[in-house]
């Protein structure tokens, strides 16, 4: 893994696009175009007053183009980080306190995600009015509904329950 600080590489243009945060989380190395899905999967829409900055299609060494999301004043939980892996498998999570990165880790794919995705199968019991939380097991190349067993490989982001 390269020490890929390409958004802090001294190039002022990049610095301007995504400003530094004081305390919070920087989600880096999100595949280009997925930043808004990252926010959706985390349930962040700015309605709680969080300060969020998003950089999209920023040049990157590791990914040709990447997105980057910075959330001021919020440290992501492990559960949230795990869920992120479904749409941003290469993401790095930087926890920032007082402008310093105090923790840096890669996302890991969980075995199961609950209450995050909604099942695309109209015949699935979870799509009705039942008091049931959606549950998907995470496969190597997709996710699978624990109720109707439908497998989704592409467009997982489209299932994000917002």
């Amino acid at each position: 893994m390269s020490n890929d600080h390409d958004h802090h590489d001294g190039n002022d243009a990049h610095e301007l696009r995504v400003s530094k945060i004081r305390d919070g989380t920087v989600i880096d190395h999100v595949h280009g175009g997925q930043a808004l899905n990252v926010l959706a999967i985390l349930g962040i829409d700015g309605s709680n007053g969080e300060e969020v900055s998003v950089g999209m299609n920023v040049p990157s060494d590791r990914l040709a183009r990447k997105d980057i999301v910075k959330v001021e004043g919020r440290e992501l939980s492990q559960d949230e980080v795990d869920v992120l892996s479904l749409i941003a498998p290469d993401a790095t999570i930087n926890i920032v306190r007082d402008y310093d990165v105090v923790e840096k880790h890669r996302v890991e794919r969980p075995d199961v995600v609950e209450g995050v995705l909604s099942c695309p199968n109209a015949g699935c019991i979870t799509t009705g009015d039942e008091p049931v939380t959606s549950r998907f097991s995470v496969l190597e190349d997709g996710v699978r509904c624990s109720y109707c067993e439908t497998i989704v490989r592409d467009e997982i982001a489209a299932l994000i329950d917002t």
Binding site: N121, G123, T126, G128, Y147, I151
Partner: protein
């Protein structure tokens, strides 16, 4: 492992299946031995989709064990039409009964319902999902007629929507079987099912075909299912494929004399009546086997000392 609910055939090991089939055979030999085993026991029948035969089969099984059934009646006359959730319905009926049998049009309904109840719940069909008790009686019939090991089986017809087919195919991966799936292209097994079957078996035992001809001579069992007209947007399309998946005396000329022909019934015209009187026909026997098999399953689920697989594992 002990199961409190029977939701899918996937949950059953070879040991579980053998426990049920052996016990069903015992009951079949001497039903009177279990006639009072569950006196006073009430089974709740929750059929959100009509299925007179499956319901009657469960009802007969429970009564032959000395118990009784309560039935929520038709969906039209029940509180379901008032918008009650399935989760609420099962929690209410659970209070009246010792076990529940659920048939529901939505996939995953039995899995969800089982999360809300403590009494044993048996899935009697959840949409295009699973129908494990049908699988058990299919396996029982196959074992009686052809044995379950070193078995070559052809499964033909609507493989896409046929939950009985999916359940059976999963269960058969526990045994030494070669499975040939024969269907029109538009009604092939769902890719999910193929994926699972390959996960469960190395894949060499699973083959798909669009014609019966090539595989028929090698089969010990031919399991036929109905191709439904309503699956086809266009009547012509239906007519084109339907005939190819019907069998009659001429078709079976090429088959082994020992071929067993099965069908979950009801049939329409997939199997010509002339087959009924031959040694090939096992479909009525298959339907009758539903009672001893469901008696065995219900007894295993309802007995504290048994349970499916209970006592067979250390």
């Amino acid at each position: 492992m002990r199961h409190d609910h029977l939701i899918t055939s996937k949950q059953l090991s070879r040991g579980d299946i053998e426990t049920v089939l052996d016990y069903a055979a015992e009951i079949d030999d001497d039903p009177s031995a279990v006639a009072d085993r569950h006196a006073g026991t009430l089974l709740g029948l929750l059929f959100f989709e009509p299925s007179t035969r499956t319901k009657m089969s469960f009802e007969t099984a429970m009564k032959r064990l000395g118990g009784d059934v309560v039935d929520m009646g038709s969906v039209e006359s029940s509180s379901v039409t008032k918008g009650e959730t399935l989760a609420d319905t099962v929690r209410v009926i659970e209070g009246y009964t010792d076990a529940l049998v659920l048939r529901h049009p939505k996939q995953g309904a039995a899995t969800m319902a089982s999360e809300f109840v403590d009494v044993p719940l048996v899935n009697a069909g959840d949409g295009a999902g699973h129908h494990p008790t049908q699988t058990m009686l299919d396996l029982y019939t196959i074992r009686e007629n052809a044995g379950l090991d070193d078995l070559t089986i052809g499964i033909m017809g609507d493989l896409k929507y046929g939950r009985t087919v999916h359940s059976l195919a999963y269960a058969l991966t526990n045994f030494d079987t070669r499975q040939h799936f024969i269907s029109p292209e538009s009604l092939q097994l769902p890719r999910e099912v193929v994926y699972d079957l390959h996960q469960r078996q190395d894949g060499t035992g699973i083959k798909e075909h669009d014609s019966l001809e090539d595989v028929l001579p090698s089969l010990d069992v031919l399991y036929v299912t109905r191709i439904q007209r309503e699956r086809f947007p266009d009547e012509n399309e239906y007519q084109k494929v339907a005939g190819e998946y019907q069998i009659d005396g001429d078709t079976l000329e090429a088959a082994s004399d020992d071929l067993t022909v099965m069908h979950p019934l009801p049939r329409v015209d997939e199997i010509a009546p002339e087959i009924d009187e031959t040694d090939h026909a096992a479909y009525f026997e298959q339907a009758h086997n539903g009672v001893p098999v469901r008696m065995a399953l219900l007894d295993l689920l309802l007995s504290d000392d048994k349970g499916i697989g209970g006592g067979t594992d250390e």
